[in-house]
Amino acid sequence: MAERVTVGRREPHATDALFDTLGKMAHDGTALLHAYVGAQGLTLVAAPAGPGAPEELVLGPGPFARPTRTGHQLFWGVEHALPAAVWHHAGRRHPVRGRGLHLMPLGPVRGDVSESLAYQLVVLGDEIHQVRLRAGYKRRHVVEAMAGAEVSSALAVAERVTGTSPVAHALAFSLAVEHALGLAVPAADQQARLVLAELERVTSHVGDLALLAASTGTVAAAAEWLRLKETLLRFQAALTGHRYLRGVVGPGGHRRPLSGALSALPALVAAVRQQVDGVAGALEATNSYLDRLHGAGRLPEYADGAVYWTGFVGKSAGLRRDTRWDAPYADYGALTSDLAPVAVNQPDAYGRAWVRVGEVRQSLTLLSRVMEAGPPAAASSRPPARCGAGVGLGRVEAPRGRLCYRVEVRGEHLVAASITTPSQLNWPAVPLALEQRNILQDFPIIDASFSLAVSALDL
């Protein structure tokens, strides 16, 4: 059974003292994450022994993560906690006040088509000096919805935590349930999981690149990316019956077989690769696009070691962290042995876009490798009966970074669940990146270069 350590909420000065001690002890991200979790009165759940790193963490809702009644209650993770940890390295943080400084509220209804999140920008003329995020507008209480529910209905909720990465969520959930109950998964389903996860990554990254191109005014490129995304979505609909691949991955095996459209995958991969090379290559030669990305939203160096940036935010800061390599699941172990995570040491909007283009190419390589080794059998296996009880952990690399599920299962029911999404870990990077002498015109570009999900932050 997991060991639960609950740390009560402390006063702000105690938080600082804690960071002081820990900052001296270790500059390593995990230690600071421990500290931050403790200081914020959250529950730190030690993972049960399993594959991968021994001290893997899952953040559970602590005594202060109560249901919020209004959007005005500030969300712990963003408003105070992680930036506080980072500011500790840069010196104490004070609210910015002074002549000519204005508070510019933006949101929760903002942008063209976007999720509800409020920014408070402190600006001097055009320059952004301080940014605060106000989240909590769209808390749906997914963790509460899962606790006590049947495994199948909890899975339906998991697929709707972030609507654009349902495979990652369903897979992490399934891995956790399989870990808890000791279920085995047929080899064909393992392969098919990899296909679905990589398809989802390609689709998600292409969509992000479209938003980024649109934010820089490169509408022709945005149209090409969007058209490519639509091609992928239509293939996904033909493959699984759902444009976003919902309803397939489940604990112990597929809930639904993949259709015969799988045989068209190699042709699709070749076509997508050609299109990606064409559009990304043309953008690499478009100065109006590059000028706006280079140097925009650069993460400060002192943030690197302090916080566990994950996914393309971490990789663009030179951190080679990727769950597919660190703790392989599905069929990744054999397929990725001669590859390395895409990483670059340029933590700005360009670096984040560059990493995503690289990851798209890498995912296409993985997809063609799976298909060369013989396409996964299309037949679905009846998932084994779920009996017994236990605690399990599931970790996957979602399109936006590491995603962890921790579940306690008893038979067909879920006793408790906790989720750490990549967006939760990466949202604190957005204010940090915005405050580095950027101007308001850069705001949409930096926002799009992160393209994090608010639904996975508010949970």
């Binding site: 249901p67 919020t68 009644r69 209004t70 959007g71 005005h72 929760p108 209804v109 942008g111 063209d112 088509v113 976007s114 999720e115 509800s116 909590g136 507008y137 769209k138 808390r139 749906r140 209480h141 997914v142 509460e144 919805a145 209905s153 909720v157 709707r160 935590v161 972030t162 609507g163 654009t164 349902p166 969509g207 479209a210 938003l211 490169t218 022709a220 490129a221 149209a223 090409e224 969007l226 058209r227 995304k229 639509e230 239509r234 609909a237 033909a238 019956g241 444009r243 976003y244 919902r246 064409g278 559009v279 043309a282 953008l283 030669a285 478009t286 696009y289 999900a453 608010v454 639904s455």
Partner: protein, 178 residues
Amino acid sequence: MFYRRWLMHYLKRPVVTSFPGRSDPDAPARGPLDVTANALFRQSLTLRQLDGGSCNGCEAEIQLLASPVYDLSRFGFAVSPSPRHADLLLVTGVITEAMVPVIRTAYDAMPEPRLVVAVGACATEGGGVFHGLPGVVGRLDAIVPVAARIPGCPPSPNDLLAGLLAAVGRPAPTAVAR
């Protein structure tokens, strides 16, 4: 240089979907719509999307309306960043308590005549799988009058186009470029 690729596209056939003039063989069929027909807007129409607690799936599909495949602007539709310039409000997601005042404010800011369209299973079926959770209101018509409901989780861009045209009482055009 992107201009070269851009110019080359002029030599190719348009990629716009044949929907709704003809059926679109590649896209999933749409579900039934629930529409109170309004013949209020004959010409251009400005949309504003409002997220009342969605999973981002509905937003992803609404964003695709601007793609060359669906090309919202061929019907005179445009997306506005502000509710003050919008004729039609697309509301997605379970409606959370925190979003109730925001939805009301946005609706009040819209000029008359105005329409509200509920998008997705969350907004049309009382929260979908999130029904009854703390903080989930689920009922959009208790806050603002709803003119049309577009079901689906998420509704495909074709469903959205059909729903939008029906909501403003426009017949589906019979001939669409293909």
